[in-house]
Amino acid sequence: MSTYEPPIFEYSAPGKIGVNLPTLDVPPAELPVGLLRDDGLAALPELTEPEVIRHFTRLSQRNMCIDTTFYPLGSCTMKWNPKLHEEVARLPGFANAHPLQGDALSQGALALMDDLQGLLAEISGFDAVSLQPAAGAQGELTGILVFRAYHRQRGEAHRSEILVPDSAHGTNPATAAIAGYTVVEVKSDADGNVDLDDLRARLSPRTAGLMLTNPNTLGLFEQHVRDVARLVHDAGGLVYGDGANFNAILGIVKPGEVGFDFMHYNLHKTFTTPHGGGGPGSGAVGCSAALAPFLPGPRVRRRADDPTRFESFVPEQSIGRMKTFHGNFGMLVRAWTYIRTLGAAGLREVSETAVLNANYVQARLRHVYPPAVDRLCMHETVLRGQIAGAPGVRTLDIAKRLIDYGFHPPTVYFPLIVPEALMIEPTETESRRTLDAFIDAMLAIAEEARHDPSLLHEAPHATPVRRLDEVRAARQPVLCYDAAALARLREAALAETH
């Protein structure tokens, strides 16, 4: 990894520019003097194209990524991002299409969207799909707003509670609260399933629905999923599926067939649209026929008068529009390409292999890193970073030491119900050789933890920076370039080394 790279502002010098722009070819118009900005954009830097490219290329070299590194970040499905996808999403007819040019001029894009709606519906066993939500969290909000509209339409606006298991991702309770619901937590049992007794106790005439992740965040399939769904339905509630872990069940089971009324897909996980260093994602949603009229719009369908042509439409009782335009369309092109590359057998192979890989890692590590629940897992395993004979070592230390061995750490400290959680999701695209190297590293780290724990406490050793002072970052926040703050920091560093 490249060594120090200064902030881009430090390369700036007056008069430089990094683009080749046309000259003005029309007579200049008068400018409205009172509306002009008066700082002359002085805070923006001035650089050439080579300077900009070199700077950002050097920054890129300070990242771990899937293209270079095993990245078993649990719950995030860091699988291979196919290179074809980057080509086709940039086809000029997709990349340069204006979202308001109208259906007649957008038939290629609409055809792809109609197709993808159908493919996702088939894979998950739902009746209808909307591609609009921008990410998983937006898919969740879409679902809970749809539940709300459904209950209101049936005169049941008094349903004011959403049940959320204690193992859920933070977006689930946050979503329910933002949609205006009271969040009621449901406990997990010793097998990692929803505790059915606790669920029964929490269900009431106030229940609007349950948000369930399946496989759940412990990496386990909810064995009683149909009982859970039946209980919620009997209470008049609806079941929301957080599809973050859909990678485990392609061709294995359809959520629409085990009682889910609504689910979001993370196209950026299961359908391998790249994570982009934080986004963009795509949180397409699927649902039952009963909920379809409430989906956000526009959606896409074949025209009734001419089935070779496509149109966008807003469902009758739509909750509205979750974002501008048609969703993260570029991600839809990639997801479509992925499904059409693999087909039914290929998708099933994805899940079978993802689950095989995770179980292999679990089987070889469970004697040293105790699993949160010791049973066969699905696409990820949640272990505890509690190594016998190494009381001073924490999950964080193990994660940082893995970096020294050349691996991206797993997700840590999630789910919250597991102490010292290490959530490992290898994905299906990793080879046996990579898995073995990772397992060997984990085992070696456990040995180090017992005999030379400082190796862990001081890790990582060879990265461009080592452990960072997060307390300082939060106490004296510097959130944008500030030459004075940087100078202070550099002075302090200098003082310390002398």
Partner: protein, 444 residues
Amino acid sequence: MSHYIALTADEREQMLATIGVADVAGLFASVPAEVRFPPLRLPEPMSEIALRRALGQRAGRNASADRLSVFLGAGAYHHFVPSAIDQIVRRGEFYTAYTPYQPEVSQGTLQAIFEYQSLICALTGMDVANASHYDGGTALAEAAVMAVAVARRRQRVIVAPGINPQYRAVMQTLLQGTSIELVSDDRPSASLDDAVALVDDRTAALIVQSPDFYGRMHDLRSVATRVHAAGALLVQHFDPIALGLFQTPGEIGADIATAEGQPLGVGLNFGGPYLGVFCCNRKYVHKIAGRLVGLTNDVDGREGYVLTLRAREQDIRRERATSNICTNQGLMALAAAVYLSLLGRNGLRRVAELCYHRAHYAAAQIAGLPGYTVDQSAPFFKEFVVGCPRPVADINAALLERGIVGGYDLGADDPRRERQMLLCVTEMNDRAEIDALVATLGAL
């Protein structure tokens, strides 16, 4: 076996033996047998060659800005995207990484986001920018939420006339479960002043778009003073390219500023992925949604970057969080950072000048055509409203025959605006294109 999967049959057998199950199906015993292994009725898989051909054909069925002259804006803009941007965005080190939870191995992403935040602050004159929202519309909805969180007991948010109707729709959708009351004056004659007059002691914020949906620029300095005097916040939704010339949200005293960041080096992409720009006054930093990157040092004193003020976010605050955002539009924020670095102060001003002067040239030419009028009641930047002698749909059909994508049909959303077209002129439309547009309009 697909070309994305590396396990051989032998390896699978060995791994199953290590796990202690007989076959792969044995891994799925926890899935109820009656619903296990359902058939998927999907089309046959395709080769890369066939996929490229099929997608090439599909893409070819869309109108696209590389083959046509585009005068359509209305929230998505055909601006220049320098070649250098995609070279960076396409680096696997950036696009195949995720949220930088492990700062030691994510300094590239973290520093790039920090620089994005810094460049947005430099552009807008605001104190703090976050690491992005999904798009301009969702950023604006988050601004309403934040304003109400800041104002505590005030639940009202006034939306000034001239807001992009899609933004209004997004706000209404996203806020429907909250106690926030969106108020607007929908009379056709309503002005910005009327909206300011609505600000009272129940009002958390006034939201103003400037340049507004119809292209008009408003002087917001006095608006800010009046809004603040009433104890409310001012939220400005701005066009980032306009800031190459015109007053910034920071200068006018906006408390929160949002934008659709797509013009900053992100292509049209049929509407997404785009970039939600969000900035605010530093007083409110603890109420901001989304991710923030801050500067700090490591154990050896070296400068470095981390995600910071994390206690605001959903993974920690759960049902007490004010936003559920997790995945954002990070790669688009990177594109915007590269864009702003390449253009810098000199390039951005020139792009803004090209837009402004060419738009005014086009407006003047069109105003001279018999039967057409141009709304000159307020200063405009790159968009303006043209009154047409015939239905806009007819005009656009005729323009298309000449390879021109005409303006947005305002009558389609608002019957009071029948025969009004919103035209957009950017640095992509040279004089020859504008002349061809004017000639075609004149010949109708």
